[in-house]
């Protein structure tokens, strides 16, 4: 199909091509569950790769103290995203890395949203939890859990893959990283959802509700901190934070901020890639056949799934000085949003970027983990989890058939799913 024809039929074409360029706002969460954002990004990459939006999406339900998203730059091409992501001296990650500004009365400092040197100091404390020694120890634990979860699934019946597999597996893993009481692990999923949900999208309706639940999270984790600070240092994240030199004197909100970072970072992302892989293989049956014929492609497929899904759609920065990029004048203080999800589909650097190709060459060169000093710390763990999941899936099931429409999350940040109805066929 030629490009003109494709544009006519693709979802979101009307908004993307009938809206004056200066009025396009891809931060509007409405565009995401319907997948209308793909056409918008295609237009921006072609016509205005560094795009200025005068007024970003403004949640009606936000608290009066919160600033709206306001004006922002959309960066949509791979090379420009790379240039900004690796230029931490001119583009700050403070005070937040998602589009909306943090509420004035409820700041959540976390190291991903800090600049050097504090970022480096705190990140180094948390880093060993996903270091090589821990990963080696976690590998058999993850495999056993994956096996248990997969063996409990009802073959031949319709069920929600998100609940029974993706959430269950990532939440169990997160509980292990924190050495969190296993029977309470559903709380981690809830806090992860609450931390990132757009208001009025079914999870929480007001900022006050979000704050109340996050304070519960802090209270719970403060008890764990108080236990572990009096015990010898161990390999779990809480123990590392309460004994680490750069983190042991964090104030409560900073502790909460870093917890939210590690909960969201270790949960939403892998969860949605585990779901996205199933959907991608169903939409591309020839690729599923390729996988059935040769499972040695799994490690490469995992990178391709993470590219195709891009579970965190963007990261934002603030320009620290005036900069000319691609002929556009970005001013000091401007909000700059790197749309990883668009850079990952940039045809100018990646042939057939819109296609899902499990044996794609250079599949690892995707933007989903970011680049530079803020690059995802847990990427090796995420890849290991998804790898093991597909190895064990392929031993058991000839087909995971998607039998209904996926329900996508209404968010311009977390790109994921709340439902994916599937039916399993055993070998």
């Amino acid at each position: 199909m030629n490009q003109a024809m494709k544009n006519v039929f693709s979802s979101g074409h009307d908004y993307a091509y009938n809206t004056p360029l200066e009025d396009i706002d891809v931060s509007n969460p409405r565009l995401w569950p319907s997948e209308e954002m793909w056409a918008v990004f295609k237009r921006l990459r072609d016509d205005d790769p560094l795009h200025y939006c005068k007024a970003g999406w403004d949640s009606a339900a936000r608290s009066p103290d919160d600033e709206p998203v306001g004006p922002y730059w959309s960066v949509t091409r791979y090379e420009d995203i790379m240039a900004i992501d690796t230029d931490h001296h001119r583009f700050s990650s403070e005070p937040a890395i998602a589009l909306p500004n943090p509420g004035k009365d409820f700041p959540l400092p976390m190291f991903i949203a800090m600049d050097q040197p504090k970022h480096d100091e705190q990140r180094r404390v948390a880093n060993p939890v996903v270091g090589p020694m821990n990963l080696k120890e976690m590998e058999p634990i993850i495999r056993t859990r994956v096996q248990t979860i997969l063996d409990s699934l009802p073959v031949g019946e319709t069920f929600n893959w998100v609940d029974k597999v993706s959430i269950e597996l990532t939440t169990q893993m997160l509980a292990t990283l924190f050495d969190f009481p296993f029977e309470d692990r559903a709380k981690l999923t809830r806090w992860s959802d609450v931390a990132t949900a757009a208001l009025g999208t079914g999870i929480i309706d007001t900022e006050e509700e979000r704050q109340a639940e996050l304070i519960e999270c802090l209270t719970y984790f403060t008890e764990l901190w108080n236990q572990r600070v009096n015990e010898p240092p161990r390999g779990d994240l809480i123990s590392m934070l309460c004994h680490g030199k750069a983190t042991k004197n964090m104030d409560p909100m900073e502790y909460l901020g870093n917890l939210v970072l590690l909960i969201v970072g270790g949960n939403d992302t892998t969860r949605n890639s585990l779901t996205g892989g199933v959907l991608a293989l169903n939409e591309n049956p020839a690729e599923y056949d390729k996988l059935r014929a040769d499972t040695s492609v799994i490690p490469n497929m995992v990178s391709e799934i993470i590219r195709w899904q891009t579970p965190l759609a963007h990261m934002r920065r603030i320009a620290l000085e005036d900069t000319i990029l691609n002929g556009k004048h970005i001013k000091k203080g401007d909000k700059v949003v790197m749309w990883y999800v668009s850079g990952n589909r940039d045809e100018s650097v990646n042939a057939d970027a819109e296609k899902f190709i499990i044996d794609r060459a250079k599949a690892r060169n995707h933007l989903s983990f970011g680049f530079g000093i803020h690059r995802c710390m847990g990427n090796k763990l995420a890849e290991m989890q998804i790898n093991i999941a597909w190895e064990e899936i392929m031993k058991r099931f000839k087909n995971i058939e998607v039998v209904g429409e996926p329900v996508r999350i209404r968010s311009a940040f977390v790109k994921g799913y709340s439902e994916l109805p599937v039916r399993l066929e055993a070998w």
Binding site: M82, D85, T86, H88, Q116, D120, R123, R124, N127, P128, G131, P132, K362, R364, N365, F369, F371, G372, I373, R375, K380
Partner: protein, 106 residues
């Protein structure tokens, strides 16, 4: 042509004859040396091409710039002879270079 040697954490040795001019990371990638992922393609921004340079060769290398320092500095397994191989350009002066690959990239 110069010779460079990569020693995997397992002890496996890869001796490679190469033209000069490309980065050490590219030499590893072009010769399928395992343990060098090079996720960013040579942009000094993913730190997946970390190597430990044999001490005899350290002072023949241009010192790391600020970005390489930043990327290396985040790694708690960094040693004094840690470098990102995408930032090492092969030249006649480096004929015989030996680097060890870290366990965490295995």
């Amino acid at each position: 042509m110069i010779k460079v040697t990569f020693i995997e954490h397992s002890g496996d040795v890869h001796e490679i004859e190469t033209e000069t001019g490309s980065s050490l990371m590219e030499v590893a990638m072009n010769n399928d040396v395992p343990g060098i992922d090079a996720d960013c393609g040579g942009g000094c921004s993913c730190a997946t091409c970390h190597v430990y340079v044999d001490s005899a060769w350290l002072d023949k290398l241009t010192p790391p710039d600020a970005m390489e320092e930043s990327m290396l500095g985040l790694n708690t397994m960094r040693e004094e002879n840690s470098r990102l191989s995408c930032q090492i350009d092969t030249s006649d002066e480096l004929n015989g270079l030996v680097v060890n690959l870290p366990e965490f990239q295995g």
